[in-house]
């Protein structure tokens, strides 16, 4: 082989070149290695920053690969979701978790934010409600998702950033519920009308599955509305139809009785009332209720059910509390409106149906109100009356009188009453009763006059007629008594002539006449004597009215004792025993009271039975009167004769059995009636008689 220096040199040259090349490669490599090292260090640093950012931010971040594998989820995502999704595949999301849209509809798996991101779509702040067994109350998310693309723009995966907006959503829901309830209340005019809308609005806006509204009426809890009205809750709806007594079990009654909200987190724990059982079977798990309070009393109950087991949510209870107080206020307002309407209707109907003319005038005397009757009587429609004055409708003189009366009312601020006497154009009398009163405004300032007047002619005429009749009657009674008195007085004289001369005949000519004549004369004398007795009795009877003394406080006991003294002989002869209670002071005529007792005692002595007479006299207080009685053990009176015995000259027995004209009790009746009392008898034939009468008590005569 030929090796030349040239060759060697060339080779050496090559070697040097190669050495140089190597050197430069080495340098480059070194440089590159250095650069790589730097880059690696930078990357490491960046990744660590990113990691710590992901670890520390409050928002949840999750990254999935194109095929749904979770590549990354930060600690916030675990906290927010309540689970670590690291091992899951997003494609199975809907199988593992419940997800709902904001409108409450379940999410279509293809519409889930990350599903859309790996299809290349961008999703901004989508709302998602997610719930699973570890978080049964669920969580509201606001999700923003983006596709992840490589440098060629190919989608390699997706990233989602989300936050917990449960609190906000709840507040929104509560606001929505409040708004819905306020709206329903604003549109309703009665609680009955509002009830269904209220329950529905509350359930829908709060995401509750069943609601009912109860009202306390006649100490029973009546269900006003339920929502929904059918479906799985049918049994619950049916149970709501009968009113609940205060002693029945179950949620609504408990709340009604306690007046406090009640939360039953798990219906399984409830006492097994029919409602709770029905609710459980309808899929309900949690129940709660709040009282509706109106004017400090529980007037109703709002009851709700949820198909989730939920721990007590104080803010929900608070919300329901505020809703029920809205409803309570509504009821109060409606009651007040109703009362106002009723009272207005009442006054309107009074003003328009009473036979009264009613009108009001302002301070200037202008009509500001007139009822229909006044318009009718004036013969003008209301619009032609308002704003005018009395001068427009009445003669000047009359209008001036009215104005003067009005001014007096305004000045004195007192009611003015007058009976005006008018003469109609036809010349008839017309009496008008007028009442005028000041009208005050709310501030207590007098703003006008109210006038009420009515035609009192009929009453006034009737009254005048009555007065005339009464005067006539009094005069006639007086005349009649006077007549009886004078007649009986003057009849005595001729009668005495008849009897005396008959007797003189008898005395002087007895032996000169025959037996017949003697008999005739004796009949004539007998008749005359009897007539004289009758006349005397009539005189005594009429004297009760015409010769009575004024009625003054009098001792009834001393009247009785006087009567007993007058009858001393008859009492002794009959062996009677008369007992009496202490008797009171009465307002009376002592002479007539003596006669009253004397006649009654006299009767008791006269109509005695086989036994010696036993007579008792007593009295007891009866309102403004004293009730007296005179009771005997005599022959008694048949009840059929009770009325007859008080009639003048009525007798129940022949003169041979018992003498007398039948005047005694008639006089008793007249005396008692003159005193303003009554007299009656209680008796049965053969069982004694009890005469009772009343006399007015004297002031302070005890009870």
């Amino acid at each position: 082989m030929a090796t030349t220096a040239e060759d060697i040199a060339a080779l050496q040259e090559k070697v040097r070149y190669l050495e140089g090349l190597v050197e430069s490669y080495e340098q480059t490599l070194l440089d590159q290695a250095n650069r790589l090292e730097l880059a690696m260090q930078e990357l490491k640093q960046q990744t660590s920053i990113l990691q710590s950012v992901l670890n520390s931010i409050g928002d949840g971040v999750a990254v999935i690969s194109k095929d749904g594998r979770f590549l990354l989820n930060n600690p916030a995502s675990v906290r927010i979701l309540g689970i670590n999704v690291g091992e899951d595949n997003y494609k199975n999301w809907s199988e593992n978790y419940e997800s709902y849209r904001a409108d409450g509809q379940p999410y279509d798996p293809n519409d889930l934010p990350l599903a859309r991101a790996i299809r290349g779509e961008e999703v901004d702040e989508a709302e998602e409600f997610m719930r699973h067994w570890r978080r049964p109350e669920g969580v509201w998310l606001s999700v923003t998702a983006r596709p992840l693309r490589d440098e060629k723009g190919q989608v390699q995966g997706g990233v989602a950033v989300f936050r917990d907006v449960t609190r906000r959503k709840r507040t929104e829901r509560h606001l929505a519920a409040q708004y819905a309830v306020v709206r329903v209340l604003a549109e309703a005019s009665t609680l009955d009308q509002a009830a269904h809308g209220l329950v529905r609005a509350a359930c829908e806006s709060l995401g509750l599955q069943f609601g009912a509204m109860w009202e306390v009426r006649q100490n029973l809890l009546h269900c006003l509305a339920v929502w929904p009205e059918q479906g799985e809750v049918a049994e619950l709806v049916r149970l709501s139809q009968s009113p609940l007594g205060s002693d029945s079990r179950g949620l609504p009654v408990q709340v009604w009785k306690s007046g406090q909200p009640l939360w039953i987190g798990d219906l399984m724990d409830e006492d097994g009332s029919p409602r709770a059982t029905a609710a459980w079977h309808a899929g309900m798990r949690t129940a709660f209720a709040v009282p509706i309070v109106s004017r400090t009393a529980v007037t109703g109950v709002l009851e709700f059910y949820s198909d989730q087991i939920r721990a007590c949510e104080p803010d929900l209870i608070q919300l329901l509390g505020s809703l029920s107080s809205l409803i309570g206020q509504f009821c109060e307002r409606k009651h007040a409106e109703e009362a106002l309407r009723d009272s207005e209707a009442l006054f309107h109907s009074l003003v328009e149906t009473l036979p009264l003319n009613i009108l009001r005038k302002d301070l200037q005397g202008r009509f500001i109100f007139a009822n229909q009757l006044f318009c009718k009587n004036l013969g003008k429609p209301l619009n032609e009356i308002l704003g005018r004055t009395d001068y427009d409708f009445f003669p000047r003189e009359l209008a001036e009188k009215y104005r003067a009366d009005d001014r007096r009312v305004l000045a004195t601020q007192k009611v003015f009453e007058d009976i005006e006497a008018h003469v109609t154009p036809a010349g008839d009398k017309l009496y008008v009763h007028v009442l005028k009163a000041p009208v005050w405004d709310a501030a207590g300032k007098v703003i006008g006059v109210q006038v009420i007047f009515w035609d009192e002619t009929a009453r006034k005429v009737a009254e005048e007629k009555l007065q005339q009749t009464l005067a006539e009657l009094a005069r006639s009674n007086r005349e009649l008594e006077l007549f009886a008195y004078v007649a009986s007085h003057d009849l005595q004289e001729p009668l005495r002539m008849v009897s005396s001369y008959c007797q003189l005949l008898q005395r002087r000519y007895k032996d000169k006449l025959d037996e017949d004549a003697n008999e005739f004369i004796s009949y004539a004398v007998d008749g005359a004597l009897r007539m004289q007795t009758l006349i005397n009795d009539l005189l005594a009877y009429s004297r009760v009215g015409t010769r009575g003394k004024p009625l003054v406080p009098t001792s009834s006991e001393s009247a009785l004792i006087k009567a007993m003294n007058n009858l001393k002989l008859a009492i002794e002869e009959s062996g009677a025993e008369i007992t009496h209670d202490p008797l009171p002071m009465v307002v009376g005529d002592t002479v007539q009271l003596t006669q009253l007792f004397q006649n009654l005692l006299g009767n008791a002595l006269k109509f005695r039975g086989q036994e010696p007479p036993r007579i008792s006299v007593g009295a007891e207080r009866q309102g403004a009167f004293w009730k007296f009685w005179v009771q005997d053990n005599g022959i008694g009176i048949d009840p059929a004769d009770f009325d007859r015995i008080f009639i003048i000259f009525q007798r129940l027995h022949s003169r041979d059995e018992y003498p007398g004209t039948g005047i005694g009790l008639a006089i008793c009746k007249k005396i008692v009636e003159r005193h303003g009392g009554k007299i009656w008898v209680e008796s049965a034939k053969g069982q004694g008689a009890k005469f009772l009468f009343t006399l007015p008590a004297a002031e302070g005569s005890g009870t």
């Binding site: 007085h489 005595q492 009668l495 005495r496 009897s499 005396s500 007797q503 005395r507 004597l529 004289q532």
Partner: protein, 146 residues
């Protein structure tokens, strides 16, 4: 006494002739012996007592029986005049009338009647009354001298 020295004089003031006769008959039946004069009303009675006109010779009565109800001048007026007259007021007056009215009784005594008697309807009682009047006023009672 007057009854011994002269017959007893009685003035009956009475408008009803039936009553006058009855009184006369009663005196007769009662066997009472008196001189009885009659005045048929109050005017006549006062003329008699004052011996006026045709009564100039009238005796002064020992006793007056006076009816109350009469025409022209009634018994009450006679009684009032009589008892106001110093000369006549000592003559006892027996009011003899049909009336039983309380006010008549009270009024008569207020006018100083010496006694008041209601005429009984029964003749026998009337006779008894007349006899009693005589016995009491004209024998029992001591009267003032004329």
């Amino acid at each position: 006494m007057s009854s011994i020295t002269r017959p007893v004089e009685i003035l009956l003031v009475e408008d009803n002739p039936g009553d006058v006769r009855l009184a006369v008959e009663a005196l007769r039946e009662g066997k009472v012996h008196v001189n009885m004069s009659v005045a048929s009303d109050g005017v006549e009675a006062m003329e008699f007592l004052r011996r006026e006109g045709r009564f100039a010779d009238a005796p002064r009565p020992d006793l007056i029986l006076l009816d109350l109800n009469m025409p022209r001048k009634d018994g009450r007026e006679v009684l009032a005049e009589l008892k106001a007259d110093d000369d006549l007021k000592r003559i006892p007056v027996v009011v003899l009338t049909t009336s039983k009215a309380e006010e008549d009784i009270v009024k008569s005594y207020n006018l100083n009647a010496n006694c008041y008697i209601t005429k009984p309807v029964d003749l026998h009682q009337f006779i008894h009354v007349v006899r009693s009047i005589h016995e009491f006023w004209l024998t029992v009672v001591k009267l003032p001298p004329e």
